[in-house]
């Protein structure tokens, strides 16, 4: 019950911030995919930079466990291509589709129904996929620091510096 309430409150805060940043809109999402509007990239990278520092601090202090997903090249690459194709058609991603519906953009509803349908199709394709794409290039739970064999903080600092340079460039070319 407590976990449910926390989920709801966390979602409300996230939905509020997404709406305020105007990143829920189809025009913003297509604008990012067409490399015409970097609002979403600014929003996402800012969130990643801040969260990265906080999560690794918690991790170093033993107060949180990381949730690292497996790197499986076949599933990651084929899945990413399909995701990108679908995202370009829908113009919302799974989380933002609910947010878009919340601000009245009800074309998101057809996308939400499509996504539930896609999930049901995936459940049927799963046995076939475990014998194919999931067997291609499985590197296990890989992170950048572990792959480079170095401590995570230099990687985090480098990531933040690159992000800041990217932000500076976006502002310079007014993207």
């Amino acid at each position: 019950m407590k976990l449910i309430l926390m989920g709801l409150v966390t979602g409300i805060l996230f939905g509020f911030l997404l709406q305020k940043a105007t990143v829920l809109r189809y025009d913003r999402q297509l604008g990012a995919l067409r490399l015409r509007d970097m609002t979403i990239v600014k929003f996402m990278l800012s969130a990643v930079c801040v969260a990265m520092v906080g999560v690794y601090l918690l991790h170093d202090l033993g107060m949180a466990a990381l949730s690292v997903k497996e790197t499986v090249l076949g599933a990651n690459i084929v899945g990413a291509i399909l995701f990108g194709l679908g995202w370009g058609l829908l113009g919302y991603c799974p989380g933002t589709s609910l947010g878009a519906l919340g601000e009245g953009r009800y074309d998101a509803l057809w996308g939400i129904i499509g996504m539930i349908f896609g999930a049901a199709v995936f459940a049927r394709a799963y046995p076939f996929l475990t014998e194919t794409v999931y067997t291609w290039g499985n590197y296990g739970k890989l992170t950048l620091p572990s792959a480079l064999g170095i401590n995570h903080w230099p990687v985090i600092i480098a990531f933040i510096v690159i992000s800041l340079l990217l932000f500076w460039w976006f502002e310079k070319i007014k993207l």
Partner: protein, 130 residues
């Protein structure tokens, strides 16, 4: 496209990062959304054919039940509704502006594309475990 109630994306993004940290710290929960679509599909299928759901390995792995993330996703809708109503930019719209400029006011075409896009997107998202 920009409106007066819009927040700076760096600020809103940074605040989102803080919400993420608090969520991981307090609840031990990482942000995500696509798993909830699998759970919802399973819940709907359970209404019609529970035996079928039990036979599908993926629904055993991602059980058809409501948990933290499902309420998180519902929360996104409520938070966006509150922000847009308070900010005065809630707009009931069937066809996005950019779509209208390119394809005209074509809600059926938009609806079919959105459905198809959603299905392909979710298949890919689950495959890549995103």
């Amino acid at each position: 496209m920009s409106d007066k109630n819009q927040w700076n994306p760096y600020l809103a993004g940074g605040l989102t990062g803080i919400v993420m940290i608090l969520s991981i710290w307090i609840a031990g929960q990482f942000f995500g959304a696509s798993t909830s679509f699998v759970r919802t599909a399973g819940i709907i299928e359970n209404l019609f054919s529970p035996e079928r759901v039990q036979q599908l390995e993926y629904y055993v792995r991602v059980a058809p039940r409501l948990e933290w993330q499902w309420f998180f996703v519902v929360g996104i809708l409520l938070g966006s509704l509150a922000a847009s109503k308070l900010g005065g930019n809630f707009r009931w719209q069937a066809v996005p502006d950019m779509w209208q400029h390119r394809f005209g006011n074509t809600p059926v075409k938009r609806g079919i594309t959105a459905f198809a896009g959603g299905a392909v997107l979710m298949f890919g998202a689950r495959m890549a475990d995103g």
